[in-house]
């Protein structure tokens, strides 16, 4: 009997999707970024980006916000993942689930609930816009930090920890010299999974009444003013920044003997 489809043909839908929704928009983005209103090639948009203090300030604010969010996530997630991976608790999976479960609740609902709680505590959300945003984003992204860390730490060969103790290291020394270095791949994948979306996610800001612009909202504001050209350029630059960050983290990920804990 003849096979109607070869295995290669199963890739056609994906290929089409790739062309229509990834490659084509990218080309459009590049086209708009390097043209002016009359459709001629121009680098004004690029110059605009680096001369407009507003844009640069937004970039900085986005960076700071993303870094702080990532750090807070890491500080919360590492102990949680460590305790879960190394304890003999019987219902580990259930506890892990409790941390991951918020992801299953509608995003808008979650942030709305958080908004209510925060305004109950602070009275007016406008008092601490930065803090509120960090809390909101941490809440949103924490599972993405816990899961890769948990995977890396629980895959860590227990005999390495025993070997360290055997050679005279106390618990703290074992952590600094063995456990932490070996969990770096998990940290890297956790960080890239939190840092990159935190750079661009402006929905949380929006919903928590933080009126400061970050990169995502800046692009949105250009687009809603029908300035496709400057908006596209910002989007393109952001894309390049993200590419660079992923390349760096991807590099160190593979260097660490591929013990990475990418779970999602």
């Amino acid at each position: 009997m003849k096979n109607m489809f070869s295995r290669k043909q199963l890739g056609i839908p994906y290929g089409l999707f790739l062309v229509l929704f990834v490659a084509a928009p990218l080309l459009v983005l590049v086209y708009y970024a390097f043209t002016d209103g009359s459709g001629k090639f121009s680098i004004t948009n690029l110059l605009n980006f680096f001369t407009d203090p507003n844009t640069l300030g937004t970039l900085c604010y986005s960076f700071v916000l993303a870094i702080v969010t990532t750090l807070v996530c890491l500080l919360i997630a590492y102990p949680v993942a460590y305790i879960l991976a190394h304890s003999k608790i019987k219902r580990k999976a259930v506890i892990l689930l409790l941390f991951v479960m918020p992801m299953w609740i509608n995003f808008t609902l979650r942030i709305t609930a958080l908004k209510e709680i925060l305004s109950l505590i602070e009275g007016n959300l406008a008092f601490y816009p930065f803090l509120n945003t960090v809390i909101g984003m941490t809440y949103d992204f924490l599972p993405f930090m816990i899961l890769p860390l948990y995977t890396t730490l629980s895959k860590l060969d227990k005999s390495l920890i025993e070997a360290a103790a055997d050679l005279g290291a106390d618990n703290f020394q074992t952590f600094i010299k063995v456990i932490f270095p070996l969990s770096v791949p998990g940290i890297v994948s956790g960080v890239s999974m939190v840092f990159l979306p935190a750079m661009t996610n402006y929905v949380v800001l929006d919903m928590l009444y933080n009126s400061t612009y970050i990169m995502g909202s800046l692009i949105g504001s250009y687009f809603s003013a029908y300035d496709w050209h400057n908006g596209s350029m910002i989007a393109l630059i952001l894309l390049i920044i993200i590419c660079i960050v992923s390349l760096i983290s991807g590099d160190s990920d593979s260097e660490e003997s591929g013990r990475g804990g990418a779970l999602l």
Binding site: K88, D157, S159, L160, E162, A163, A164, A165, D166, L167, G168, A169, D170, Q173, K177, V178, P181, L182, E256, S257, R259
Partner: protein, 480 residues
């Protein structure tokens, strides 16, 4: 001055019970190790040898008992405070460090100077024959080289005891043989006490000064390799170490022992009539002409093994495996003779199965809800049945609710069945030993007790079986 402690390490009544499932991994373990000895823990997987090693190293704490190092109790000391280093089963080298940092790990923690560390690392690398490997990555090493690095990393700390947990398990045969000799040499040169864990009897016999044979968490025998091989203390040791024929026998007059349908002169002086297990090594059997042997039989199989032939001879209902350099054909009639020193006699263990039952109101016995019929009047002294009641000598009814009856059975009276609910109890076969004309099975029943059943047919390990216990074979006795 105080007397110098000769034993570097002593284990006293060590028990290990796991909290989560109540499993008793090590049961009343007593051992003395002299300074500089090469001691091997030998046993099948799950016998408790690794658990014992882990308790000495400090990765696990004993549930009870003491571990004395140079006379001092260290049983509650954490691993990093013990002058003991371990070579792990899978080496456990740190993958994020190069070889130098791996070996220097312990020295750096001791805050030694850089020069000193460098010198020591260099020296230990020359001991394991890997000079110049300092800057290599772990992932570039072969299994054998990783093994050596693991040994170097432990040795560089100059431990009082070096623990080795099946260190050669992951190597191929040739490499394993080489490393065995190398480890032995290393031990002789360094004078450090080695405690070695393995399930490989040949490895244990080759390397050790002293072997501790373990099974089911209990010590079966402690002795030199020669002792263990030539004078096994029980059927388990005989079966586990080397090839052996094991028979049931009985002592007769003048140090003679009767087994396998013949009478042989032995070397063990036991009272006449003692039931014994007899071990005969395949290489100790002398093949003679049929009429000249103490017993005779027919060759039923011949296997060429390179150095020798392994032939199986059937004599009556018994089977004996023999090693010989001469070739025989299947069907040949031969006689067999044994020198006195080729016969190893062990006291037969008491394998009676017994369990406690309560008495039902209708004078039957209750064993976990199952009913056993018996004549209580025969068991309860000075009692008889009258009008359907059990009465004592004064004619008063005996209160049977307080009476407990012990039921006992011999291994050969219990029958095994494929149907797990066919008998009083069911269980899993966890061990079996061939004893010439039948197999002796160890069965762990549903309540966690082990019992011995003899059966002439071969069942498989881990088979679930029902145990049928015929009531007419049971012996009853009142529990005091």
């Amino acid at each position: 001055m105080e007397e110098k402690v000769k034993n570097i390490i002593e284990l006293k009544n060590i028990c290990k019970v796991y909290d989560d499932n109540g499993f008793k991994a090590v049961d009343d373990f007593n051992l003395e190790v002299k300074r500089g000895e090469f001691v091997t823990f030998l046993g099948p997987s799950g016998c408790g040898k690794t658990t014992t090693l882990r308790m000495i190293a400090g990765f696990e704490m004993p549930s009870s008992g003491k571990i004395l190092l140079n006379g001092e109790d260290i049983s509650q000391l954490p691993a990093n405070k013990r002058p003991i280093n371990t070579v792990f089963q899978r080496y456990a080298l740190f993958p994020h460090m190069n070889i130098y940092d791996n070996i220097a790990f312990g020295l750096k923690l001791k805050k030694l100077s850089k020069d000193e560390i460098k010198k020591k690392v260099k020296r230990v690398l020359s001991i394991v024959d890997l000079e110049g490997f300092e800057n290599r990555k772990i992932s570039t090493l072969s299994g054998g080289q990783q093994q050596r690095i693991a040994i170097a990393r432990a040795l560089v700390n100059e431990p009082e005891i070096l623990m080795l947990d099946e260190p050669l398990g992951a190597l191929d045969l040739k490499m394993r043989k080489e490393m065995q000799l190398e480890l032995k040499n290393m031990h002789d040169r360094l004078g450090i006490t080695f405690i070695y864990v393995t399930h490989d009897q040949e490895e244990a016999l080759t390397m050790s000064d002293k072997i501790v044979v373990l099974s089911e968490g209990k010590i079966q025998q402690i002795g030199t390799p020669e002792d263990i091989y030539n004078e096994p203390q029980n059927a388990f040791v005989a079966d586990f170490i080397g090839e052996s024929n094991i028979f049931k026998g009985i002592m007769t007059k003048n140090m003679k022992v009767r087994f396998c349908g013949g009478e042989f002169a032995g070397m063990d002086d036991l009272p006449e009539g003692t039931l014994v297990d007899v071990v005969v090594r395949p290489e100790d059997v002398i093949i003679t002409k049929p009429e000249e042997g103490a017993i005779s039989g027919e060759v039923v199989s011949v296997i060429f093994k390179g150095m020798h032939y392994e032939i199986t001879i059937e004599s009556g209902k018994y089977e004996m495996v023999i090693r010989t350099t001469k070739c025989y054909k299947v069907g040949d009639k031969v006689g067999m003779q044994l020198e006195p020193d080729g016969i190893h006699v062990m006291m037969a263990e008491d394998h009676t199965t017994s369990f406690v039952t309560t008495v039902n109101s209708d004078y039957t016995l209750d064993f976990n809800g199952k009913v056993i019929n018996c004549n209580l009047a025969d068991i309860v002294p000075k009692s008889h049945m009258k009008d359907g009641n059990l009465v004592d000598e004064n004619g008063e009814t005996v209160d049977v609710s307080k009476i407990k009856v012990i039921v006992s059975l011999q291994p050969y009276d219990i029958k095994m069945s494929d149907e797990t609910d066919a008998g009083l109890v069911s269980g899993k076969i966890i061990d079996l030993i061939y004893k010439g004309d039948h197999y002796s099975y160890v069965i762990r029943d549903e309540y966690g007790h082990d019992l011995i059943v003899d059966d002439e047919y071969l069942w498989n390990m881990d088979d679930q079986v029902g145990l049928i216990m015929p009531e007419d074979k049971m012996k009853f006795q009142i529990k005091k």
